[in-house]
Assembly symmetry: D2
Homo-oligomer: 341 residues x 4
């Protein structure tokens, strides 16, 4: 290790103040010498030079060239929720270089939004507010003709990663029973987490609240196919907060428009969503413009976790807050953010 | 006690099927002979005759005449959330007649709605849905310019009765610290419940989420006066779900319209709310037409609790599910439902 | 109410410093004028005179004469875990006089001990410690030939009063499923508390940990008869912490001596237990000399609760910390402390 | 990967039936071809041959020669609580071979015992049982002259690994505040786990219950030095359940014998402990013959976790139940079991 740790900090597309609180930025500077640390992308030439001495690279994608040019490198830290493409992972494992993503920083904010969307749907909070504004509201029981409660409801999670592990504790006091479909996790692990492993069809047929929480992978594109969506209970709500990738979105739209079930949707196949996309008019939907995972204070969790783990790595300790890439999965998770830029 | 218990069942303004599931109705018939048991009000003459042999009266108000005419009476059970007026409570205590209200049956449904409203406000779920429909939505960070999280937030409860005790467990996983103002409860009791006693001004000045949960009493009309409301943090949301009685509603409306703080409001001074009431246009408000406590499945909690407690009373045991009237408080709680009928 | 509340404080057999911390004593003096307040019993003549002006009487038994001599009385507070005998309860109800017992103050200390005894039994902590001292210990697996874990075990509670409600949360993290037998509580109430109603035979046949938590009543003497005890699982432990009254103690002793099941026993039919009582030699027993409910700091809970509730009563509010006597049950609970004095 | 996974199963010093339930053994055979699978150690020649085709090696130590001879190897699984010595970890990282230990399988059983020992100490359960047998018991308050409660107590954890993470939830319902000293974990991580980071002296000076939970490392031998032990509160209990390695055991013994504080001890520097070791006579101690982590049913957790993770590895998924070796720590954790064999 060099005398002093050097952190190549090139967070673009994120902004410095978006992810670092003042306190965390100060801690970061105490951890090592910060190179770059600006909002605009680091010029490639300068980046390559800095890489030669870098202990860690904090970035959103890997665009710094071959790893042999980084002899001191011990960590590659992504400030997005995904792992960098174009990185030589094999070389990282061989050299003990940690590759980390900020996915866990989204756990709490997305879980909170997922619960909020679920309640907004079953208790018709958004529709009820709109009705109050248009003067068409129904009072008391009349306004509750089609509402239902989360308490005691059968719940299904599709995916049991960081989002699901943040969401589960929020649902515990509602006395729900949670079934989980996650082909990457064994039954024994899931049971010890207090949830019940399930097949996907069984989950869809029995759950009144279906939370789609799976990270996009090369294996789960349109996993929720039209055929499977047709198995959803007619009195259910599907809450989609991870990625539209996981769902046949056309089928979802049609079924919700047809009143087959309800949906609460934060992510879309194309973002911004086309102005004339039919789901915009669906009465059975609660819609949100990909806002579950970018709350200001939530974003500071990214910076806090990044600095916490950089401190650990510089001290020769394993990182404990960000998500570490694993050989078995790294090629199977799909990157990308949904929003066209 | 007579050979067989007789239950005078006169639930009007509620409807039989609104409060009793088929299973609970069957249990009720197993408990004793049901007299009347229809949706329309029992004719007074018939009621008085039935009273002479009644073990219990299930009603929404007391309109059955003097208690001496009810020699076998052991319980008066209100299916509303309030205790009957015009009942001789002194005589009830003296004779060991239990007076019970269905207030606890509203705990879960109102708590769930209170949380849903709070999240709809801080995460701008209702406004976000409206924007998606009008095509004016802002995506990702731009759409989160003014949102905030419940996690780790300072929370204040005004009142710590049935609603608050149902709401507290829902907030625990958000790692919040809860201050409580309730002049009817001692500090020692509150601390053992895991909350922190507080004065009202301190609560308002420090809480980011203020939940108004106090039952209306002869002592708390407009408790949240204009002066006190002006102490609310500018970045706070006031969630009003018990009764508008507790708040200076004009002041609340003006302050929310002025952008001083946010509000989520389920109860109003006059219901239905006037079509031109200015709060209908408040951008900082989430509005709901008194729908927190009348969800269909939630209403069946009333019937379940009523039958559970009737079973207990007929068996010579104390009721454990409904709220028992207490000598110290019975005259101080205000009845009434807000909605003009 | 008189100008200033007067509290007749005559806690004998308890001692003042045993139940009141200095801080609580100071609070008590702020609440009203304290009359007597000594460890030895108040002389009868003096007591009767004081009663004439007393707002509240804090005592261990009622020995102050007829209630009409106490025109200002609003509360009778027992510092024992039981309600006073020889009190005219009918008159108390009629006049709205609260009768309170300190039973809830024992909840936490007894629950803690019940868990400690259960673990000492299943993990053989007491026997293991004795073996280490005699040099006969077995190490590692050899020492665990007959131990078992509380995690995931089926648990039964006999009685679901204050002790049980304190014990349940301590067991939740062990992922146990709790069956409850309590003839004074309905199934609906029990289910909402997160436990499963059960018949007594089923509970005994299925539970690996049987906690006897029922307060002694006129109805449950030797409830756990020899016949029922013979249904206990051979691999179970019976934890007896409420009163020996509830159990056929001779049968329990014989069955434990015969190795039929284990027991952890804190209460005995005659206390002190006869020096030659055979249970003293039972290898399958963990024995404790009625020490679950008299920990020094736990005893201060009594004083704290007493003062909290006196404050409430003087302020015209209902008490919320001590246990209020109820018409349906007061004659059915048996008083007495087990220990001959 | 070969056509069918081959599992070299050589668990000695553990026994097959000690760690595998019948159901898990069956699952294991479904996962792949089991080679060896006996209680006695696999003969070296045979082991080397099997290694050439092994997908996974399940063992207690690495004694199978160089990794290049194992071209298909994807996991080395230790059935002890430690990682194998004499394994080329660098080669494992480079080739993506997972190295796993069964440490997490001890979490629940040791946590349960740690709580049991703590309660046995503070509530004097072991001493009280001994007194009942010798006829020297003190009843009620007299028997509680020196007891205290876990409720509300300040608690300190030394180490926050698998044991601590299992113990923490067991303590939550006791309303304790937990300080943690763990130099391998950052403050941010600890706070998010609901504990408070602390220096070691501060922890010792303020905690009434000190749980020693740290795995032995090359850095923490006699971490609890005499000087530090002298800072322990006089009214505290030190619960030692991880390894005696972490403590100056002579100092601990002397201080407990001198009555400076209490201790509950499950692990000793030399096991079996010398028959004349002075701690055997310490009145302030609860002693256990290294029995916290070898309960029969707890041991089956090892087998379950091993099979769960072998299933994952054979399916090309990351293991999620056992502890994965990490480059930063693997050389720093000390192996060994305490007990001379």
């Amino acid at each position: 290790m060099p005398d002093k740790a050097k952190v190549l900090l090139d967070p673009h597309f994120r902004k410095m103040t978006e992810i670092f609180s003042a306190a965390d930025l100060e801690r970061l500077h105490d951890t090592g010498e910060v190179v770059w640390g600006r909002d605009d992308p680091m010029p490639p030439e300068e980046a390559r030079r800095a890489l030669a001495e870098a202990t860690a690279v904090v970035c959103s994608q890997w665009r710094y060239g071959p790893l042999p040019d980084a002899p001191d490198l011990r960590a590659v830290v992504s400030v997005s929720g995904a792992f960098p493409n174009d990185l030589d992972y094999q070389a990282c494992w061989a050299r003990g270089i940690r590759v980390l993503s900020a996915a866990p920083a989204f756990g709490r904010q997305v879980a909170e939004m997922a619960l909020g969307l679920a309640l907004a749907s079953c208790r018709e909070i958004a529709a009820g507010d709109a009705a109050m504004r248009s003067g068409e509201e129904q009072w008391l029981h009349a306004g509750n003709a089609n509402t239902f409660m989360l308490y005691d409801a059968p719940v299904g999670f599709i995916g049991f990663g960081a989002l699901a592990r943040s969401l589960r504790p929020l649902l515990v006091p509602f006395d729900v029973r949670i079934k989980v479909y996650d082909p990457w996790l064994g039954d024994g692990f899931l049971r010890r987490q207090g949830v019940e492993p399930s097949s996907l069809p069984e989950l869809l047929e029995t759950s009144r609240f279906v939370f789609v929480l799976a990270a996009p992978s090369s294996e789960n594109q349109a996993l929720l196919s039209r055929e499977l969506l047709e198995r959803v209970r007619p009195d259910a709500v599907v809450v989609l907060v991870s990625r539209a990738h996981v769902v046949d979105f056309d089928a979802l739209t049609e079924l919700v428009l047809a009143g087959r079930f309800r949906a609460a949707v934060d992510v879309f196949p194309d973002e911004p969503l086309a102005p004339d996309h039919p789901i915009r008019g669906a009465r059975g939907a609660v819609l949100s413009a990909h806002r579950a995972g970018s709350v200001r204070e939530g974003m500071w969790d990214i910076g806090q976790m990044v600095v916490d783990d950089l401190e650990a790595i510089v001290a020769g300790l394993p990182p404990r807050r960000l998500l570490a890439a694993e050989p078995e999965l790294v090629g199977r998770v799909v990157s990308g953010h949904g929003l066209k830029r």
